[in-house]
Assembly symmetry: C2
Homo-oligomer: 149 residues x 2
């Protein structure tokens, strides 16, 4: 399955975490580990809907990330992939599919991100690019954000 996983119990309701992942006004507030930022976020949150998140590095260079939502269960589950840039236009490189789940657990939320790849090389590259640290820091920022929304 070539899967990388991040799971965390977060002291916030599911609805807020889901909103932070889907509201284009909130994504820039947590999505990139600082000093990286997000200069543009667009989300069409429905199966087949496209998303665009432009990441900006500290030197101003921009990296557009395009994807398509595959499955949407509001406040429970969100699946998207970079295998398509729109419904149904293949991307330059199908790299990953992310499966996010938000579950109630003792008044908090069990937040789980499963990120699957098509090849052993891709999962190794993602790990080497710093998946654990990058998603870890982004999730710290997400946890901070949901205190305030």
């Amino acid at each position: 399955m070539y899967e990388l996983t991040l799971a965390r119990l977060i002291d916030a309701p599911r609805e807020k975490l889901y909103r932070a992942w889907t509201d284009p006004a909130l994504i820039p507030l947590w999505f990139c580990p600082k000093p990286w930022g997000v200069s543009k976020a667009e989300t069409d949150v429905r199966p087949g809907g496209a998303s665009l998140i432009v990441m900006r590095g500290p030197d101003g260079q921009e990296f557009p990330n395009r994807g398509v939502y595959l499955e949407v269960v509001p406040n429970e589950k969100l699946v998207f992939t970079d295998a398509y840039v729109a419904a149904w236009e293949p991307s330059e490189k199908p790299f990953m599919t992310a499966i996010l789940t938000f579950e109630d657990e003792g008044g908090k939320t069990r937040y789980t991100a499963r990120v699957r790849h098509w090849t052993a090389e891709d999962v190794a590259q993602h790990e080497a690019m710093g998946f654990e640290t990058g998603w870890g820091i982004a999730t710290d920022q997400l946890e901070e954000l949901v205190k305030d929304i």
Copy 2:
């Protein structure tokens, strides 16, 4: 887009063509150019639903084809890919995405199959494997079948 296309005006209502593509009892009757056949067909026709079509060669060798439906508009549109074998398990090799549309045209149906690939190599391979002939013969068989259903 690395696309291969087959378009044909077929003298049958959209509903019958859609049924021939989705009913597991009908798929074996037209899907493979003879003397190839289909020994098993399973379809879970909804976004994220899996499909399995086992093709059988004249010598009895079997070739399972697994995929997932991405978009389903009954009697109008059907999109599926072999990039997943189930929702959302990446397949061994994301090779193609097929977009089928069924449109009314002067009492007949304009049937269009657009088959998209992720790489130039894959589209060239699919063409070399005989896309035009293979899909052409299968569509002849489809056209015959819908006269009788």
